[in-house]
């Protein structure tokens, strides 16, 4: 068995007074693609927010070990700098903030953290333009305000663009395929597949199996009512398609 990049143990988490994650266990292997499937409202997005340190989530018990350290009390930016990236289900719009300026700030924050030299505007733009083209985004996206007035598909491509520029170690994709037409889906999954290098790990969160035809998972985990109730190989997808989540019982 390969190395564990993240080990979530008995995670309990609340939003407000409501407990959403109820003793969740999940082990993610380095270099592998893990898919989390589950019905709407099961707590999938909550899990992604707990891992990345969103303010809404209060972890009341359990651990999130990442690269051997419990990160439950870390600031969101520290988790990001250590290589955790979340592609948001609904990326927020930030008016007036230039997309390229934002992304260069983020890339340079990471480079600085890693002791690398910061990229100047020209170097950065060259790289960004190349990826914008690869992802089939309009060149104007470079200088538009961050996510402002972007279509659903454009927002998701922009998330993938950020992922590719930031070169994270653990990539969480929350409903990356929602709102994507087939061309966008292809472009986005190509971008994701290109990031697979045997070291980098993926957590693909979805309630539709469609995306899994494009990004082949190594493991399938079923999340229901705040817990992982089943873990299996990719063959589970077909079974879920056929029988639905209702038929899956806790192992």
């Amino acid at each position: 068995m390969s190395q564990t990049v993240m080990n979530i143990k008995n995670l309990h988490a609340k939003i407000g007074t409501k407990e959403i994650l109820k003793g969740l266990n999940l082990e993610l292997e380095e270099g592998k693609v893990h898919a989390i499937m589950g019905p709407n409202g099961a707590g999938k997005s909550t899990l992604s927010k707990a891992i990345t340190g969103h303010y809404d989530i209060e972890v009341t018990d359990g651990e999130i070990d990442y690269k051997g350290q419990n990160i439950v009390d870390w600031e969101p930016e520290d988790r990001a700098l250590e290589g955790i990236f979340l592609s948001f289900q609904n990326p927020v719009e930030i008016p007036g903030v230039n997309n390229a300026y934002f992304l260069r700030t983020a890339v340079n924050a990471k480079r600085k953290y890693e002791g690398k030299e910061e990229l100047n505007a020209a170097e950065f733009l060259r790289e960004m333009k190349k990826l914008v083209e690869e992802l089939g985004m309009k060149p104007e996206m470079i200088s538009r305000s961050l996510n402002e007035g972007f279509s659903g598909g454009e927002k998701k491509r922009n998330e993938i663009l950020q992922m590719m520029m930031l070169e994270p170690d653990l990539i969480i994709l929350d409903e990356i395929d929602s709102g994507l037409d087939i061309d966008a889906l292809r472009a986005v999954s190509e971008g994701i597949n290109k990031m697979k290098d045997g070291k980098r790990s993926f957590l693909v969160i979805t309630h539709y199996s469609r995306i899994l035809d494009y990004i082949e998972p190594d493991y399938i985990h079923v999340l229901k009512d705040g817990k992982i109730i089943k873990t299996a190989g990719p063959e589970l997808v077909a079974e879920l398609e056929e029988k639905g989540y209702g038929a899956i019982e806790e192992a």
Binding site: A80, F85, V92, P95, G96, F102, T105
Partner: protein, 481 residues
């Protein structure tokens, strides 16, 4: 959530970095206001009799007026008899070498290069620096004079260009326009005078830095800018004041006149001392600024970034008299700590096909209270007048407030007026998004705030936009723990 708010508060409460005091001997009159004080000021300034008489006339008007209290502002009554109305540095410098090194040092701390050679980002900037009530040094004056451009202190203008001053001073803001304007008319001590002759495009940004230094000194500048037919000028005013624990009064008057086809761009970066978290100290800033688009196709554009003062009462306005004339108002007003700002604009449409644009961005943090008050008035003959107003408020934290009072008076059913207003909170989602990308909280807040202000910053000359951004960071950021 509550904890998150506190963190935000900490993140946004910057120390007032310009709160140092220039230690120079002051020459000032004892506190209080009467005819004698006015005569003293006029004499000190070596003014002709006609000016002394005008001052006295304004003083008597002022005595009959009452301090206005319609603003959304709360403050202790101002004791006008406890204020000293004149302070001048004792040394009267002739050249830069004679300028008190301490003043130069203070300017250096403010980041203003006073030497003529120093070019700010490759652009020549002529600086008329005002320390308390006397213009210390006007740079570039000679080079400008070759083009017929007059750029000097208002006191010099009264002595050297009396005809221009007599014709235009009080023509846009009458001496009895309002309480504070009347007070200013009686006791104004210095300020800037600009005249751009016909067809001349002013080759550089003109700039004045005001600085209130002396204890208990009111500062009353008066600025008059005249752009003759077909001319253009961009003028920048920047202000800061040292830290005090008593409130000081600042009541300035600015008059702009744009003739046919002329354009005036007036930018302000205001960073007077805001007072402390309880509102103690800080500048009371009661300012009357008005521009007259006298001729056809003239244009006046106000851009202001207001980050300082305990109290701000300020409504830069445009009187659009000439047909097809254009008025613009772009404003960022920040209130944090216990600051209160009641600011906005008036656009008075008198000529045909006149148009105006109002973009107002209010940012409130901590206990700051921010009020936008705007009037769009369309006169009976202003056929085809158009106005577009956009007032956006950004709240940081939960103890601050934003208020919007747009007024419209239209005598012309043909006028076209659009108004949009939004109030948003810096959302946790935006903050989290940026932090998830590895950007620290402080940088994330400033990125969101700069984005919010973008439409206004883009109106500022480049170097000033950079300064405005730095100032916003200074105002809104402290040390994130």
């Amino acid at each position: 959530m509550a904890q998150e708010n506190q963190e935000l508060d900490r993140a946004v409460s910057g120390e007032y970095a310009l709160g140092f005091e220039i230690d120079i001997e002051e020459d000032k009159v004892p506190p209080g206001l009467n005819e004698e004080v006015i005569r003293f000021i006029s004499k000190k300034k070596e003014e002709p009799d006609w000016m002394t008489e005008l001052r006295l006339k304004a003083y008597h008007r002022w005595l009959q007026m009452e301090e206005p209290h319609w603003g959304h502002l709360e403050y202790e009554p101002i004791d006008y008899q406890s204020i000293s109305y004149f302070a001048a540095p004792k040394k009267g410098p002739e050249s830069l070498d004679e300028v008190d090194p301490k003043i130069l040092e203070a300017y250096e701390k403010l980041g203003i290069p006073l030497e003529e050679q120093k070019q700010l980002a490759g652009v020549k900037v002529a600086v008329d620096a005002v320390v308390d009530s006397v213009s210390v040094k006007t740079t570039y004056q000679e080079e400008l004079l070759e083009k017929g451009i007059i750029f000097c202190s208002i006191s010099e203008a009264i002595r050297d260009y009396p005809e221009l001053v007599k014709k235009y001073m009080f023509s846009v803001v009458p001496m009895n326009d309002n309480y504070f304007a009347a007070l200013n008319s009686a006791v104004f001590t210095d300020g800037t005078f600009v005249y751009i002759p016909k067809g001349v495009r002013c080759p550089m940004e003109l700039s004045t830095y005001f600085r209130i230094n002396a204890l208990n000194t009111g500062q009353f500048e008066r600025t008059l800018i005249i752009a003759d037919e077909g001319s253009y000028v961009s003028y920048n005013e920047g202000c800061s004041a040292p830290m005090r624990d008593e409130n000081q009064l600042h009541a300035a008057v600015v008059e702009l006149i744009a003739m046919k086809d002329a354009e005036i761009k007036y930018s302000t970066i205001q960073n007077w001392y805001p007072g402390d978290e309880e509102g103690k100290g800080g500048i009371y800033n009661f300012v009357t600024k008005r521009g007259l688009c006298e001729g056809e196709n003239s244009k006046i554009s106000w851009t202001q970034v207001e980050t300082g003062s305990a109290i701000t009462w300020k409504y830069p306005s445009c009187v659009l008299k000439g047909d097809n004339s254009v008025g613009e108002f772009y404003s960022v007003a920040v209130t944090t700590l216990a600051q209160q700002a009641d600011t906005g604009t008036k656009m008075i449409h008198l000529g045909k096909n006149t148009s105006s644009t109002i973009i107002s961005k209010g940012i409130s943090a901590m206990k700051g209270q921010n009020t936008y008050r705007g009037l769009v008035k369309i006169g009976a003959n202003a056929e085809g007048a158009r106005n577009y107003s956009e007032c956006d408020s950004l709240l940081i934290g939960s103890e601050c407030g934003a208020h919007t009072f747009p007024y419209l008076e239209s005598k012309d059913a043909m006028g076209q007026v659009e108004h949009e207003a939004t109030t948003t909170k810096i959302s946790d989602e935006q903050l989290f998004y940026l932090r998830q990308r590895g950007i620290n909280e402080e940088d994330a807040v400033s990125m969101i705030v700069h984005g919010f202000c973008k439409e206004v910053f883009s109106q500022l000359p480049m170097e000033y936009a950079v300064e405005a951004k730095a100032l916003l960071n200074l105002t809104l950021e402290g040390s994130v723990g």
